[in-house]
C-alpha cells in the first residue's frame, strides 16, 4: 500500500513538472507579452529596461530554471499586469470558484440522486422515461446560454435574484464566503444552478444505470426474500452499491466543474479564478496563466489520488487486490 502510494505521488509530481514545461514553451511560442504591456511610444532604452526587469531577455532554459527555483519556494513570479505575486492573485480568487463549484456539485447530488433512483427503480414508468429524455436535454444545454436565460428570466423580467457579483460576504478562517450571508446566498443561487445543470444530468444517469445494474443481483433478491422493508432494501442494499462508481465520477468531475466555472463566472461576473485566467489569457499574463494551471493541475492530481484511496476503502475487492 505505501509503495503504491509513493509510486502514485511520484507519478503525480512528474505530470505537474511535464505540464509546466509544456506550458512554458507553449506560452513562449505565442508571442511577446511586451508588445501588449507597453505602448508603441515607449523608447528603446525604457523598453530594454522593462524587458530586463521582467527577465524576458534571458534564454528560455534559463527562464525556466529560474521559474523552477522560484516555484520551490512557493514563488511563481509576479503578474505582468497587476505586478503582484501571481499565486496570491489566484489564491485570493480561488475561494469564490471553490464555493461555486462545491455548491453546484451539492445541488447536482441533491437533485440527481433521488431522481436517478426513481428512474432506475421504475424504468418503465412514463415519468422515468421523461427524466431520461430530460437528462439528454440537460447534457445538451449550452451552459453559457442557459446562464443568459436565467439572468433574463429571474433578474430582468421577474427581478427576484441578482444577476452578477458575489454580494455581501462574511469572513471565516480569513477567507470571504458568500454562503454565510443572506445576500451572498441570493447571489449564489443562479450561478450555482447554472453550473450544476450538466452535473445533474450526469448524476441522474449514473444513479439510474447503477440501480438498474444492482437491482437484479442476488444479494438484493435475497434481502427482498428475507422480508426486509422495501425502503431498507432500496437505501441499504441498492443505493449503497451504486454510490461507489458515483463517488469516483463526482470526485473526478470536481476538477472539470472548476474548469467549466470559467463560463459561469464570465456570464455572472462572478469574481473567481476563472474570470482571472480568461483575462490573463487575453493579456498574455504568463505568470498568472502558469500559476493557475499549476494550482488546478495540483488540485486535479491530488483529487485523482484521493479518489483512488477512497475507492480502496469503499470497495473491498479493490482493497484486497491492493493488499495482495
Amino acid at each position: 500500500m505505501s509503495g503504491w502510494l509513493v509510486r502514485r505521488i511520484a507519478q503525480a509530481a512528474f505530470v505537474v513538472l511535464l505540464m509546466t514545461l509544456i506550458v512554458f514553451i507553449g506560452l513562449h511560442a505565442i508571442g511577446n507579452p511586451i508588445d501588449i504591456l507597453i505602448g508603441q511610444d515607449v523608447d528603446q532604452v525604457d523598453r530594454a529596461r522593462i524587458i530586463a526587469q521582467l527577465g524576458l531577455d534571458q534564454p528560455l532554459w534559463k527562464q525556466y530554471l529560474a521559474f523552477l527555483a522560484g516555484a520551490m519556494h512557493g514563488d511563481l513570479g509576479n503578474s505582468f499586469v497587476y505586478n503582484e505575486p501571481a499565486i496570491r492573485l489566484i489564491l485570493q480568487r480561488l475561494p469564490a470558484t471553490l464555493e461555486l463549484a462545491v455548491s453546484a456539485l451539492l445541488l447536482a447530488l441533491v437533485i440527481g440522486i433521488p431522481l436517478g433512483l426513481f428512474a432506475g427503480l421504475h424504468p418503465r414508468n412514463p415519468l422515468s422515461k421523461m427524466l431520461m429524455t430530460g437528462s439528454i436535454v440537460g447534457f445538451s444545454l449550452p451552459t453559457f446560454w442557459v446562464g443568459l436565460m436565467l439572468i433574463m428570466l429571474f433578474s430582468v423580467k421577474l427581478g427576484w435574484l441578482p444577476a452578477s457579483g458575489r454580494g455581501a460576504t462574511a469572513s471565516l478562517f480569513g477567507v470571504q464566503w458568500s454562503w454565510l450571508t443572506l445576500d451572498g446566498l441570493r447571489h449564489l443561487i443562479l450561478p450555482a444552478v447554472n453550473l450544476s445543470l450538466f452535473k445533474v444530468s450526469l448524476v441522474l444517469r449514473l444513479t439510474s444505470a447503477g440501480v438498474r445494474e444492482v437491482m437484479p443481483m442476488e444479494h438484493v433478491r435475497f434481502a427482498r426474500a428475507k422480508g426486509l422493508s422495501p425502503t431498507r432494501v432500496v437505501l441499504v442494499h441498492i443505493l449503497r452499491n451504486t454510490l461507489i462508481p458515483l463517488v469516483t465520477v463526482i470526485g473526478l468531475e470536481f476538477g472539470s466543474t472548476i474548469a467549466f466555472a470559467v463560463v459561469t463566472e464570465t456570464v455572472f461576473s462572478w469574481p473567481g479564478a476563472g474570470k482571472l485566467i480568461l483575462d490573463s489569457i487575453n493579456a498574455l499574463d504568463r505568470p498568472v496563466i502558469l500559476s493557475y494551471l499549476i494550482v488546478v493541475v495540483c488540485m486535479f492530481v491530488s483529487l485523482n489520488l484521493f479518489v483512488d484511496i477512497l475507492y480502496k476503502f469503499l470497495d473491498p475487492r479493490v482493497r484486497l487486490e491492493g493488499a495482495r
Binding site: 505530470v15 506550458v23 507553449g26 506560452l27 511560442a29 505565442i30 429524455t133 439528454i136 436535454v137 447534457f139 445538451s140 444545454l141 449550452p142 451552459t143 453559457f144 446560454w145 443568459l148 436565460m149 439572468i151 433574463m152 430582468v156 476538477g255 472539470s256 474548469a259 467549466f260 470559467v262 463560463v263 464570465t266 485566467i277 480568461l278 489569457i281 487575453n282 498574455l284 496563466i289 494551471l293 488546478v296 493541475v297 486535479f300 485523482n304
Partner: protein
Amino acid sequence: MSTTPLIPETGKPVRGAFKRRQSLGRQLVADFARSPAAMGALIVAILLVLAAIFAPLITPQNPYDLLQLDVLDARLPPGSMNGAGTHAYWLGTDGQGRDLYSAMLYGLRLSLSVGLGSAVIAGVVGTVFGLIAAYAGGKVDSLIMRLVDLLLAFPSILVAMMLLAFLGKSVTNVVLTLVLIEWAYYARTARAQALVEARREYVEAARSLAIPNWRIVLVHILPNCLPPLIVVGTLQVARAITLEATLSFLGLGVPITEPSLGLLIANGYQTMLSGEYWTSVYPGLALLAMLVSINMVGDRLRELLNPRFVK
C-alpha cells in the same frame, strides 16, 4: 410458405425470428425507428443540416456581406420589414442591421462544419492511433495510451482555452484544437474494441489463410470496430459544437467576421439586458435544437449498438 418457428408451449411465433435474416443495416434502421423520440430527433437533425447546407438559398441576405447590411435597420424587433420594404426580418436584426434569421443559418453552417469536420478528422486520427496501439502492443501501446489518459484527465475546456491562446483565433485553429482534444476518445474506443476483435475466430481464420497483417487490421478488424466508434463520433459532434460555441462565447473561438451560433449569442448578450432579447434567445434555441437532436440520436445508437444494452 416458409415455416415460422413457434414457441412449443404457446404455439405463438418466436418474436424476431425472421429479423435475423435481414441485413444488419436494415435491422438497425428498423430498431432505431421503434423509438419515436429518436426518430423525431433524427428528422430535426436532418432538417437543420439541410437548412445549413442550403442557407444561401433560403435566407434573404448574406450576413457576411457588409454591402447587404443596412445600419438603419439595426435592432429591429422580430417581424419588422426592412427599410426598402423588400423582405421581413422574421427574427429581428442585431446591432449592425444584420438579419438574425440569415445570420443564424450561416452561423449554424459554421457550427456544424466545425463540429462535423473536427469529429471526422479526430475520428480518423484517433482510430489510426488506437489500431496502432492495439496492433503494436508493448511500449508503443503504453506510450499512446499514457498520452490518451493524460489528455482525458484534463477538462476539455481548459485544454482548449490554452491551445487557442497559443494558436490564436481562427476557424482552422478551432478545428485543430477540437481534433487535438477529441482524438483521444476515439483512440481509446478503437483500441479497446480492436483488442476484443483480435481474439475472435474470424481473425484467426484470416491469419491461417496467410493474409497480410495490414489487411487483417484494415479489412477484417476495422469494420467490426466501427459500431462503437460511430456512437462515440455522434456524441463527439455534439460535444465539439458545444465546445466551439462556448469558446466563441468566451471570445477565444471563431473571429468576429464569421459569427458562429456561439458568437451570435455572445454579441446578443450585450444588448439582451436592454430588452432586445431576440439576439440571444433565437440563436441559442437553434443551438439547443441541434445539440438535443444529435445527442438523442447518439443515445439511441448507443442503446442499439452497445451489446450491453441489447436485449
